[in-house]
Symmetry: C2
Subunit: 390 residues, 2 copies
Amino acid sequence: MKSLLLILLIALNGLAHGACLTRGTGDMGIIVERADGSVLVVDTSAHKVLFRVEGLGDLSHASAVFSRDERYAYVFGRDGGLSKIDILCGTLDKRVIQGGNSIGGAISQDGKLIAVSNYVPGGVKVFSAADLSLIADIPATATAKGKGSKTVGLVDTSGQRFVFALYDTGEIWILDMKQPDKPALTKFTNIGRLPYDGLITPDGRYYISGLFGEDGLALLDLWHPEKRIRRILDHYGKGKKQLPVYKMPHLEGWAVAGNQTFLPAVGHHEVLVVNTSDWKESGRIAVHGQPIFVIARPDGRQLWVNFAFPDNDTIQVIDSETLKIIKTLKPGKGTLHMEFTPRGEEVWISVRDKDEIQIYDTENLTLKTRFKATKPSGIFFTNRAHQTGL
Amino acid sequence: MKSLLLILLIALNGLAHGACLTRGTGDMGIIVERADGSVLVVDTSAHKVLFRVEGLGDLSHASAVFSRDERYAYVFGRDGGLSKIDILCGTLDKRVIQGGNSIGGAISQDGKLIAVSNYVPGGVKVFSAADLSLIADIPATATAKGKGSKTVGLVDTSGQRFVFALYDTGEIWILDMKQPDKPALTKFTNIGRLPYDGLITPDGRYYISGLFGEDGLALLDLWHPEKRIRRILDHYGKGKKQLPVYKMPHLEGWAVAGNQTFLPAVGHHEVLVVNTSDWKESGRIAVHGQPIFVIARPDGRQLWVNFAFPDNDTIQVIDSETLKIIKTLKPGKGTLHMEFTPRGEEVWISVRDKDEIQIYDTENLTLKTRFKATKPSGIFFTNRAHQTGL
């Protein structure tokens, strides 16, 4: 009897430890399986799936950030769910429904606060990264219909600040959380019609809102908020017929290379090139379709672009120096998301309709390997933990 | 008897697992204790020492890089020792004596290769990151005395390449390790007298050698090696008396903010400001002493500078926009090294003669906390794993 107990206890002890991995987390990441409400935890060195974590709700358009120690992923679901995943144990550590319809989130500079922006009921909520308890609730400006404005383009920057835009009321707000019990807001109104997404430059200095209601973007210099909002690239679509927009482009992927920033043009088959020293247009690149993501390889030498329906089977690679398209790839229908490995030697691409992840070598632009994932969309690697605005 | 065995076995099992930590590695780092040949493994969230790892030999001027998964630190000792430390277990995983007198190293883009540059016998050796077995031995050009040139300023960049300078013979070499069994060298000669250190811009594009033998620096555009070497900041000390140089400045800490790069002037109490669009001098900042490290806070808004003896008790903080000194700190004698936390909210400073690490808040520039370390010098955090040239 005692022998049996002995074996049992040792086995249990082994299991308890064995369930979690003892390993570095710098080469890990997650892949969102949108249809199943699950995420895959992956090893980017071994090209291997380590865990599948289920029960995350509606993950269409889901995004994620990582804790400062790169152990936990915070997943922002479309259904307002905020989930904390332990990537070393492959478990759902905690899940709260924080709003009705969520559109992304961010993590504070010190890693202690998670902010989530909501379509419904609008506004931003701030949670403790440790236990997801509510720390601050920032309602949005009410629209004429009495509802809170949709809140979009939420990013984090230095000084425990978050920046976001109010879609319906055309505003940009800075939320300063240095004193968590006294959230401080700086509001910029009349920034332009229908800001639909935002990006922040890698240094955390410039915040840019794309405007769906007009040709042009709104720029805020966070080192000098007293200079207020500046309109840039005004009327970039002037004289051209705008195409029907099937899917809004994303701005949150950085595409800053040297002193140039690359942005998707809404409703046009073009990538806009902007000089970051004067924020004027310095060029345009004709591309295969309406660009969704325009992202730069970490060294800035290449830009990778995917497209809206019906061109969402294609990726184009642009040389950031010559502005020429150097490669057109056809990963397959539903090519939704791209993520570079931290030092850029590979890019991982989710191909929804093929139920697979394709991994490309960014030096020779060829397919290196692929593996199965169920209706994959967003891919997020842990090195985002160390970066501002990602 | 069986009960005793049971307890014993469970205890042993617990110990075996307990020796290593199951935790994320994104908020970890190491601190070199130069006099004792040891390193401290630290937790940057908790401000805590987790382990002390001993037996690393002569660690004066030691530097370190991290594996792609952020689990292993590779420490380059002055005595030619290359040590692989497991920071989750606090153990010395492997140690080889690879040369007679070493001056730093780098890790390849894919994380599989470790390169070390040597004063004696000169040249670069490349090792497997997995087991430290020798993969390539690249001897330096022989000097008139028949010995290999001292080899310095070794950095990694994209495409599995390493770049370094030959001090005695005035050369810069690119080592391409895409085919590990066929190392390919590109050599640039007559680059200027006595290149003493190198830096690579954060995007991995520009390599700059400081020249001890003359006023000026050598610049190589790695996107366009066919353009060969360009001399920049020629005669920056012209008409000024050079002071005796007690300690060579370091270049390997990045100081790139917007389109400006900041460099320590050799033998002068000045920081040089260079415009990265034309690589011309755009300003100078008079500082407290001869600068050693000039490093930018990750968002580029501040530069932190320490100094050579006899001013090595001081740190100055410069606003990168106004170029004004905004704070002079006196951490104490032997203020040797500074390391920013990944998102820049803190800077950790080693103060050798006080046997302590001081941690400053970079927003209000005040001391936050401190802890004991024995004769600390270099501080290296794991987020370096994700960056080029660090």
